[in-house]
Every structure is written in C-alpha cells, then in structure tokens.
Amino acid sequence: MLGREEIERKKIKEEGTTVIETGNHAVSLAAKFARADVVAAYPITPQTQIVEEIAKFVENGEMNAKFIRVESEHSAMAACIGASATGARAFTATSSQGLLLMHEMLFAAGGYRLPIVMANVNRSLFPPWNILVEHSDSLAQRDTGWIQFYCASNQEVFDTTIQAFKIAEEVNLPAMVNLEGFIMSHTHMPIELPMQDAVDRFLPRREHLWKLDVDNPGTFGSMSNPEYYVLMRKGIEDAMKEARTKILDVNTEFEREFGRKYEPIECYKCEDAETVIFAMGTIGKESKRAVDELRNEGVKAGVARIRLFRPFPEESIKSIAEGKKIIIFDRDCSFGKGGVLSTEIRSVLDKPASSYVVGIGGLDVPYTTIKKCVERANGQKDEWITEVHP
C-alpha cells in the first residue's frame, strides 16, 4: 500500500507536465511557481529572456506580481530590498556587469538579512566584451552574505530556485542561483513541472521576523556602535552556519514532495576513485563522461560537482578528498592568486592538489580536454588551458 505522500507524489508525476525549455525559461517558470510578489529587473544578455518572460506572465495575469522596471541593476536590487523589507517575496535576475553594478546593494541585502532570491546567468566580465560563460561574476560576490548555488541542468535550475526561496526565508539570508550563460541559459532541455498546489504546500507564506510595518514602526540599517555592529555581522555568519543544516532539511522535504534531490556536492563514482575531479556547473557534469572514459582505460576517477559555494561545504569536501588525488577545475580566476574554487578547496585540504583554469570567456571545455588534464595532472597549480583541444 502506498502512503499518502507516495500517492501524492505519484499523482504529481502523472499530472505534472514535462516541457522542453531553456534554462532562462526554467528560471521564469520557477519564479512564477514560487509566487514571487515583486520582480524588479533590468535586462542584460544572456539573462534578458528571464525577465521578459516574467513581464509577460505578469501582463497576461498568469502571475500575480508587481513588475518594477528600473533604470539599472543597482536600482533593481534596491527595489528588491525595499519590497523584501515589507515582507514581500522579491525576485530578480541579472548577469555579469549587471551583477557587478549591484555589488553595493548585495551587501545591503545580506546585511539586512532579507530573503531575496536572484538568478544570475554566469557571464564573463568586460574588457574586452564577451557575453559567454565564466564564473567570475558571481564568485566576485563571494563575501556579500548571499547563499550561492551553481546548477548544471535546467531541471536543477528550476528545482534549486524553488528551494532557494524556502532556504532563504528560513535562515533570513538572500540566495543566488547561478546558471551558465548560453550553455544553460539558451539550451533547451526537459523540465518536469510540478503541480502548483504541491509547490504551495512546499513553500508556504512565511512571516518575516522583522519587516517595515506602519502599525509597528521601526527602521533598517541605522547607525550602529561597534558593540551592536559586531553582533549583527556575527549574525550573518551564524545564519550561514545554520543554512548548512537547513539546506539538507529543505532538500529532504523537497525529495518527499517532488521525488528529486540535490546534495550540496553531487558525487559521481567518487567512493572507490583514486583521483577525484572537483568542478562547478556544466564542467562538473561533462566530467562524468571523462570519468567513464578514464575508467575504461583503467584510471579510477570520479567527479565531485560542487553545487553549493556559500556556505562552503568544507566538511563534505574533506571527507570526499580523503586519500584521493585531487584535480580542481576553475572557470574563473582571482588574478594574483589563481582559481577561486581551487583556492577555497585547498584551504580545507592538508595536501597538494592539481588545478586548471579552463573555459575562460566561454572557451569550450569538451570532456576530451577534461580527460587530458586529468591524465597529465602532476600537482601543478592553476595551469591555464587556452585552447579548446590542448
């Protein structure tokens, strides 16, 4: 006999529809299913389709939200902050230069502890102009107090966005869902859509702990002495710690409702591996093929795709890496230090690791290149791969 929840899930499976849509569309749909109240946004390639579609949803009445057209990304985030401070569910999307322009306001959202959700379509930075994928835009926002996810399929983008609202509202931190420019944002893939009532059940309205309320006047962000300031800032760090556990709980609940789950790190053939690849986004996914081919040739490889960058899943990384040879792929660079992901991973390892900077400015990273990198890894740090087929 099936339990109530199993019946419910079966029903969703049968009644829910699968659509073939782009990553951008997955985001728009998720914002609609999550019933965002306020969307304030400014267009930028390759994100524009997200907010275009949401504007359409609002215009034709499919989505009961206020769409605010603003004059810049800085203003988009400022409007989301204002909306979220009143207790509304606020959403925006951006990319690259747009995210950089928001930088100041990102700290404000984190410091105010507002559960804003934002999709960022990863794109390289100017100059020279380039509209293709790189992780440098979002990794430059590392210290702003935002939870950060990195996705590798359109289904994962949809599901993570829904989850992000719940996680953000439970720990009172803003959350950023990253998807890669063009190779996800403009790529058509199947997305299984849930029933709206299932999403409503998973994501009920939650009263903000503190909000702007005319009946109970208060303020956000007043002047503060060190004694209070330090406590407010420690609060952000404590909330990040709390988020580590909450993210796992929300994932369990999500699996119960929708039948899919996402660990902070997705492991593929890591357990018996002698070499483990660490990567984020589609490189982490493409690496599965490299791992299969390497194993056919007798190289025991595995891949750990890091989905959650903030809070950084350091304990999981330590245990996955134990006793293995480590190879890290970065699609970004902190000039003067090297790959950001490799720097972060090395900070929790007690041994050397090999690392590569790949796919800069959208340079294609086929599994054959990943495989070559694994084969010739010899502990070198941040070797740059500057050709598609090195």
């Binding site: 699968t18 590798a152 190779i183 493409e286 599994y367």
Partner: protein, 183 residues
Amino acid sequence: MMYEIRFHGRGGQGAVTAAALLCRAGFLAGKKGVQAFPLFGAERRGAPVKAFARIDDEEIVLASQIYEPDYVFVFEEWLIEYAIEGLKKDGWMIINTKKKPEDFDLDCKIATTDATGIALSNNLKVAGFPVINSSILGAFPKVCEEIKLEHITQAIKNYWPGDIGKNNAHACEQAFNATEVKE
C-alpha cells in the same frame, strides 16, 4: 545510443529553432535525454550560424559543442565545407538543394530535399526571407529510424499552435516525401 546533430545555416533561416524542434521530436519519440543549443546565441541575420542537438535514451551530461556529429544539416550548399568537418565516417549529411544526392561527391551518406522551394510554396517567410527549418527537418525520419515523421510534425504543431504550426507541419511532410537518399 546518443545521436549528435549539427546544423549549419545563416541567421534568419531558422537553424537554431530547427535544433530546438528536433530535440522536442526526440522527446516525443520517447527519448529521455534531449538538448538543443545555438553556438553564440547572438542572432545576426545572414551570418553563418551553427546549432546543435543531442538525443539520447539517458540524461545528457555533455554541455560542450559537437565536434564529431552523426548528422549534419546544411541549409545552403556553400556551407558543405564547414558541415563536413568532423562528420563521422558513416554519418549523414542532409542538404537543402534542388540537386540529387548523386550530384555530390562527398565522403558521407547524403540526403537531399528542396526545403527552400517547399518553404516558398507554403509562403513560409519572415521579413521576406524563406524560413526552411520546418521543411528540412522532414528529411530526418528518412535517415534516422528512431524519429518518425509524426514526432517532428507534432513537435512543430506544439511549438506553433494554430495555422502557423499546421502550415509548417505540411511543409515538413512535403519535404519528407521529396527527400532522396544515397548511402
């Protein structure tokens, strides 16, 4: 088995949408893993464009471009020299042309159909230019057993509800019937 398909056209001819339609047809044919993406995502009318589609029984883990396709679609004859690059030894080239497969001296299997003529006869034009994506896709079921004509026409009708879809599906059927192949 995974099919990797590459489209070579010019901006405005509908190569990007052709890839999107073919992956939808693959899904309707029962394939779990389908994917379609353009090379640059920047649409420029008249410029050479590439688009890609993958169709597989399992979820697709690849996100990189296709360097050794099983099938290539050629929207204009002069693109053949680009399309042939990396095409697998037993791969198929599907060419939009009035010519017959025998008229081409190429080291691959060939299918031909007059997609431009069929698009024009069905008045499938955008800004005065023939849009040949729905027509040229009609050749695919002739060279790939697993995807049937009805999967493609259904995908077209789902993508463009109403008369536009019907007209495009009709052009697709005509192109299917007009396709000639040489193994």
